[in-house]
């Protein structure tokens, strides 16, 4: 089993979820906690990128084999 696959899936899902949630709750009062930053959106995008990179390498390795 290529471990990059499940890790890629988990973080792609989390990335999509947090990005979506961040966009949806854009002006929510709860972002006062994170100093006014929409940290869900920021961190969601970062996790999404990480997840996709993992998936990309897993697929690439899968094709080679």
């Amino acid at each position: 089993m290529d471990l990059r696959l499940p890790i890629g899936y988990v973080f792609t899902i989390y990335g999509v979820m947090l990005t979506g949630y961040g966009a949806f709750t854009k002006s929510d009062a709860m972002y006062a906690k994170s100093l006014g930053m929409n940290i869900n959106l920021i961190w969601g995008v970062i996790m999404l990128v990480f997840g996709l990179v993992m998936l990309f390498f897993a697929k690439k390795a899968g094709k080679g084999a």
Partner: protein, 590 residues
């Protein structure tokens, strides 16, 4: 785990209270994040089930796992919930000196393990650390080590389980017993299904969960405190840390620094004895490298692990330091929760998370805590079932078929988890048990390291010396603990107990902090074991010939040929790069 547990327990004796903390509301998004994580963890276990055909697969992953996976699992195995809480707590209590646990302790030890010790561990084909001791020395040494190790893994899983359930109960109002049962059943399920491979693969997932769940905290908090300059100004103005807060070495000429210990106590006690002892002889760690698919991968395992490990202070210690800076600042905002009027350092990490994280990220951070608990737990359980099956059961009953060993391993997994739950319940009733166990861990670690050093790097050390070295060294540690105490500690489990049985109190040795006391106990235990082993080995005949020691002692082990690997991946090259980086880090934060 045994090492970092020190700071966690030292602060509170393990008890967790919610005094002064608001309970956050969890939303659907937070619960969904947790549920997805649990589904993947179980999914990995079930997906690996088809590879579990023999005992070798179950206990050693059939020696088939790539180096980077083993490397991340290697550090994840030590990232239990207490380490996260404990390191943040120490950051608040000791400032930047906490980084010594990493930059003097863990990293050099991991590089040493990879370069110098792994050729014997992996090359000898030993299935466990105790089995290596049997090959190198004799049966009694193996039994001594496997019994103490089996006990420690179960006990520390139990403590860790208790800590998590207590935390979730205190912070979120979850039912204590439900937490205990649910988390253990999940760990049980994925270890039973996929054995060591499942534990290791999940540890890597857990590693990323922990990093992604905790890392944003340092970023937000550092922004809040006014960046690095704001942090420095506030910490150095604070009474409790003062000038020493931002220096790891500058103040260590004497004991007038946050840890109360001189530079040589740090180098020898924390660095050489405690950290090398923990990282190089603890089977829960070494087992990760033994699962690697080649000698090269096994040797790279701890070195690869050292790379992210080196940067961990930024995400765990830094938030702790910021927490203290914010607390000592007069402006209203975050402050460390109190317990009976004193700062409750163990609550630093969760309270910071609740203070800064909105829903969404909050669920991710709680999942990270859960993941850290599971990785520590599974590491202990997989190490326990191997030691139980190969070192204790098989020694008592040789001639077992592969199938019988495999099913024994599964029973041992269930038994280990149930026993750990029992320990958790004991710990929840009787808080002192944690302080006592923490002591036991400290007593066992340092003597074992002395035994390994002599065993792996000299031919002359023999079975007589090793066994009596361990016994006498461990007893000396116990006695020395009784003869020393830290300022402001009562005599008893925290040391100085000789005073309770008639020794005049003024004859005892006093240390400024518990931390320095711990370091010196380790130094004394190590030195005694080393001396006894060396002297007895010289005084008695060799128990093993050069021929029998082939592959077990460094000078008699064929050199691992790595010339066909890319130069950057050769253990000596990679290890040297890591060492240079860690030395640079020490200078930057001097």
């Amino acid at each position: 785990m045994f090492l970092e547990i020190t700071s966690f327990l030292a602060a509170t004796g393990g008890a967790i209270s919610t005094e002064g903390m608001a309970k956050p509301d969890l939303h659907v998004i937070d619960w969904t994040i947790m549920a997805i994580y649990l589904a993947f963890v179980l999914g990995i276990g079930f997906a690996l089930k088809k590879y579990m055909n023999s005992a070798e697969d179950f206990f050693l992953s059939g020696r088939s796992i790539p180096g980077w996976v083993c490397g991340l699992a290697f550090i994840s195995a030590n990232l239990g919930a207490q380490e996260l809480l404990g390191m943040a707590a120490s950051g608040a209590e000791y400032g930047i000196m906490t980084s010594h646990f990493y930059w003097v302790g863990a990293i050099p030890a991991m590089v040493f393990l990879g370069i110098f010790m792994m050729p014997m561990y992996y090359g000898s084909k030993a299935k466990s650390v105790p089995e290596y001791l049997k090959m190198r020395y004799n049966e009694p040494t193996r039994v001594f080590n496997s019994v103490s190790f089996a006990f420690m893994t179960v006990a520390s899983s139990g403590i860790s389980m208790h800590a998590l359930a207590d935390l979730m109960h205190a912070l979120l109002g979850w039912n204590y017993y439900a937490c205990l049962v649910v988390t253990s059943v999940i760990v049980l399920a994925y270890v039973l299904k996929g054995g060591l491979s499942s534990a290791i693969y999940n540890e890597v997932l857990q590693f990323f969960m922990i990093v992604f769940g905790i890392a944003p905290l340092a970023y937000i908090a550092l922004k809040d405190v006014g960046g690095w300059d704001g942090l420095t100004a506030k910490l150095q103005a604070s009474q409790h840390l003062g000038e020493g807060a931002m220096h790891s070495w500058a103040q260590t000429g004497g004991t007038d620094n946050p840890m109360g210990v001189q530079w040589y106590g740090i180098l020898f006690g924390l660095g050489f004895v405690l950290s090398f002892g923990y990282w190089t002889t603890n089977f829960a760690e070494v087992q990760r490298a033994l699962a690697a698919n080649s000698m090269g991968a096994a040797r790279r395992t701890p070195i690869i692990g050292a790379i992210p490990k080196m940067l961990f202070p930024a995400i765990v210690i830094l938030p702790g330091m910021i927490a203290w800076a914010l607390t000592s600042d007069a402006n209203p905002g975050y402050s460390i929760p109190l317990k009976e009027g004193a700062p409750n350092y163990n609550q630093v990490l969760p309270s910071m998370i609740f203070h800064y994280f909105p829903n969404g990220l909050l669920g991710l951070a709680l999942t990270a805590l859960m993941a850290s608990f599971m990785s520590g737990m599974a590491a202990n359980v997989t190490a326990f079932n191997t030691v139980w099956t190969y070192d204790l059961y098989k020694t008592m009953k040789p001639n077992q078929t592969d199938k019988q060993l495999l099913s024994m391993g599964k029973y041992a997994t269930v038994f280990g988890i149930v026993a750990a739950m029992g320990f958790a319940l004991v710990a929840s009733r009787w808080n002192n048990i944690m302080s006592i166990l923490q002591l036991v861990f400290g007593f066992v670690n340092a003597p074992l390291f002395a035994t390994f050093l002599l065993g792996m790097f000299t031919r002359r050390s023999n079975g007589v010396g090793s066994f009596w070295g361990l016994v006498i060294g461990t007893s000396t540690a116990v006695l020395f603990h009784g003869a020393t105490f830290a300022t402001n500690n009562a005599f008893g489990v925290k040391g100085g107990w000789l005073a309770l049985i008639g020794v005049p109190a003024e004859k005892l040795i006093q240390y400024p902090k518990e931390m320095s006391q711990n370091f010196w106990i380790a130094i004394v235990a190590f030195s005694t074991t080393f001396l006894v082993n060396a002297v007895l080995s010289m005084a008695t005949k060799r128990t093993k010939s050069d021929e029998e020691l082939r592959g077990l002692v460094y000078s008699l082990t064929p050199k691992h040929v790595d010339e066909n690997e890319p130069w950057i991946l050769r253990p000596a090259v990679l290890g040297s790069i890591v060492m240079v980086a860690v030395i640079v880090l020490n200078f930057i934060f001097w």
